[in-house]
Subunit: 435 residues, 2 copies
């Protein structure tokens, strides 16, 4: 009893409930911050996607087309790049101890040298010192780095509802990027007046990948946004897109493509991608609103708890026995005698009930979160399998992806299942180097 007297400020259960709520609000604040960042990244990605497509027309036409468009686009990209850099800096200075920080900041560290290399990339493109494939590869790599930041933001989310929206947004952005790569691929083909087997195969792969991503988006987004996405793709535009796809991909090797179609291809695919950007903005807006609502809701709850805590400080103590006597967990209703209990006892019971309620809520949030994360884990598994193949067989990421996809098609299995088999069989793979 001596020791007990030494710590008169021993905190009650309610005080820890308040602390738990404060942590939750902190996590929501962080999510709001990263959601904001994701929106900013999305706008830069959109500009870089346009710049990539325009650069490919320029390179494919040996400097004949799109020089002026390119200058305007570069100015736009630069402005949005500054916004992203500023958002990175802001995140670091305002939330240096963010939950998912180690991974998120590492991804940012990876992307910054990519942004730093943009002036040199642009110089080489302007000097026509790169072929469209090399230029595309450089933009693809940079955009992949930016999307990896978005992925970490989604992976770090601790609220299942927000996590769902982030998963939907990430997959939409990834799908849009495949659409952007398709635009660049088609732009190079039409501008140069020819298509070949390798490009054709890549093109079809990009169509497949888009569809997979948009499916995941539809699965995780609010139904209203899925509807919006379907409604903004007019059938006429889709028909024109499919017609141009067919012309380029069904043409026998060696047969010339009409170079005049490059403008039409660029406009048609750009119109579609711009429409995607509108959906993406709506997704980002919805995410922001959701974060704000959740924060407001948690703050209200915090106020209730804090008021109760103050009240409890003033209440005269009754021996705390509710924990001992409280009904079994499965017992639903308060006992009829509860009204007759003394005030302190009643307060104690209601606090216990709040604690139980909060535990239940956190538990079910955790469960739901795991379900949502499964979609992210799928990507991680495929990435790991690709990494393994790259290291062991000394091949590029694209080749590794193609191997997996080919195996999946041959064996009529899902990509994720093939990736899992590859990982399970890791030790049987031919040794390739330090990897």
């Amino acid at each position: 009893m001596l020791l007990r007297a030494l710590y008169p400020t021993m905190k009650s259960g309610l005080s820890f409930l308040v602390s738990a709520l404060r942590c939750e609000i902190d996590e929501l604040d962080q999510l709001a911050r990263t959601s904001e960042l994701v929106g900013t990244i999305g706008r830069l990605v959109h500009a870089l996607q346009r710049e990539r497509g325009i650069s490919n027309v320029l390179l494919g036409s040996r400097g004949q087309r799109f020089a002026a468009q390119r200058d305007a686009q570069i100015a736009d990209s630069l402005q949005l790049e500054d916004a992203v850099r500023q958002a990175f800096d802001q995140l670091e200075s305002e939330a240096p101890r963010i939950g998912n920080g180690a991974r998120l900041f590492s991804r940012i560290a990876w992307v910054l040298p990519g942004l730093g290399a943009l002036p040199e990339l642009r110089r080489r493109i302007g000097a026509l010192a790169l072929d469209p494939a090399a230029s595309t590869a450089a933009f693809v790599k940079l955009i992949a780095g930016l999307l990896a930041v978005v992925f970490e933001a989604a992976d770090g989310a601790t609220d299942p509802e927000i996590s769902r929206r982030l998963v939907a947004l990430f997959n939409f952005m990834q799908g849009k990027e495949f659409a952007g790569q398709e635009r660049a691929c088609g732009a190079a083909a039409f501008a140069s007046g020819r298509n070949d087997e390798a490009r054709r195969e890549q093109w079809l792969h990009l169509i497949d990948s888009q569809e997979h991503c948009f499916q995941l988006f539809t699965d995780f987004a609010e139904p209203a946004l899925g509807t919006l996405w379907r409604s903004i793709q007019p059938s006429a535009q889709l028909a024109e897109l499919e017609r141009l796809r067919r012309i380029a991909c069904a043409a026998p090797a060696g047969v010339a493509l009409d170079t005049e179609l490059s403008q039409r291809w660029f406009d048609c695919s750009s119109e579609r991608i711009d429409a995607m950007q509108a959906v993406e903005e709506r997704l980002a807006d919805g995410l922001r609103t959701l974060c704000e609502e959740k924060i407001a809701q948690a703050r209200t709850e915090l106020q209730v708890h804090e008021a109760l805590l103050a009240e409890l400080d003033g209440a005269t103590g009754t021996p705390p026995t509710a924990f001992l006597d409280e009904p079994a967990a499965a017992d639903p209703a308060p006992s009829p005698a509860a009204g007759a209990a003394p005030y302190g006892r009643q307060l104690e019971r209601s606090i216990l009930e709040m604690v139980r309620e909060q535990s239940r809520r956190l538990q079910s949030m955790g469960d739901e979160l795991e379900t949502v994360r499964a979609a992210l884990n799928e990507r991680k598994t495929v990435e790991r399998a690709k990494g393994l193949l790259m290291a062991h067989r000394r091949i590029t990421e694209e080749e590794a992806h193609k191997m997996l996809r080919q195996t999946a098609m041959n064996q009529n299995r899902r990509l994720i299942d093939v990736a899992e088999s590859v990982l399970a069989m890791a030790e049987y793979l031919p040794a390739g180097g330090p990897g």
Copy 2:
């Protein structure tokens, strides 16, 4: 270009690498804190386990045995309770924004009313106003609350190696708790001079559960501790334990047990549990050391990065192009020409390599962490299935556990598989109430 000039302090990739490392060190500091807390909780749990066993002998013998032992044990429990309360308060004041805070603090909020109810529980036991089953149930509930805090600490770990140790420690503590429940169960049986079918079944269940936990402990602990655990259980002691188990559990219903065996049972099972406590202390020590080592290692790395960052600030800028020109990810060795590159270029390359190395490390840590977490998810799945059964069928936790176990035995399936089936079939379960 105007905008760029407005933010002259734009941070480099290396600066974010440093931020990422700082976040990692923060996470390790938090893990060291919670590991410390887990050790303190373990000591209180040990004392409460002894108090539960002693109380059962007192109640089973209608106050004839262990009155003095009980007073001594209560004094010990009180002292350790104060240490735990102090540790809770310290965690809250020193790390109010701890990563896993929402869940961890909720668990603490749940456990504090349990500690607050202890004086009343002790009063009722002293007045022989409870039967051994009710007294055991109260202690079991309180200890389960304390172990839930340990579980959240393990679940919140972001470093896979530390997570492995926490999973080992949690399972060891849980196994020890089943051993403690077995002691209390046996103490009540021998002290009252009789055993019955329900208690026999519960007893066998406790033996099963212990073995499962110690298996998981062996899977996740350092091999040295697995060896220690096997070596401290002398065969003679195990033989005596098994003999007493057999006497109590194989006796036909209605046949009297020798009440003189209660002291022998209590001593024999206590000796075993005290030996467990020694292993547990070793586990907690090892965890502390590991955290310290990891923190020291991360701090050294941080210093290297910070020195490089300072150096970079002084270096004259060369256009950053390493990201653009760097070899493909699968390419292992630096190019032979690297030595000839200008100083800035070389520095730039080495930073890119550091970023890539850190990403790889974080990625593989994430993968490993998921593997370790599978062991925790197993528990979560079983808990969820139990919760569902409790709500839908209005049964107690123990009954729910028994149902699952019985089904597993009948169908020759693992408990976790049955639990997963239950969750998958949730909507087909009979409706039972608001749950």
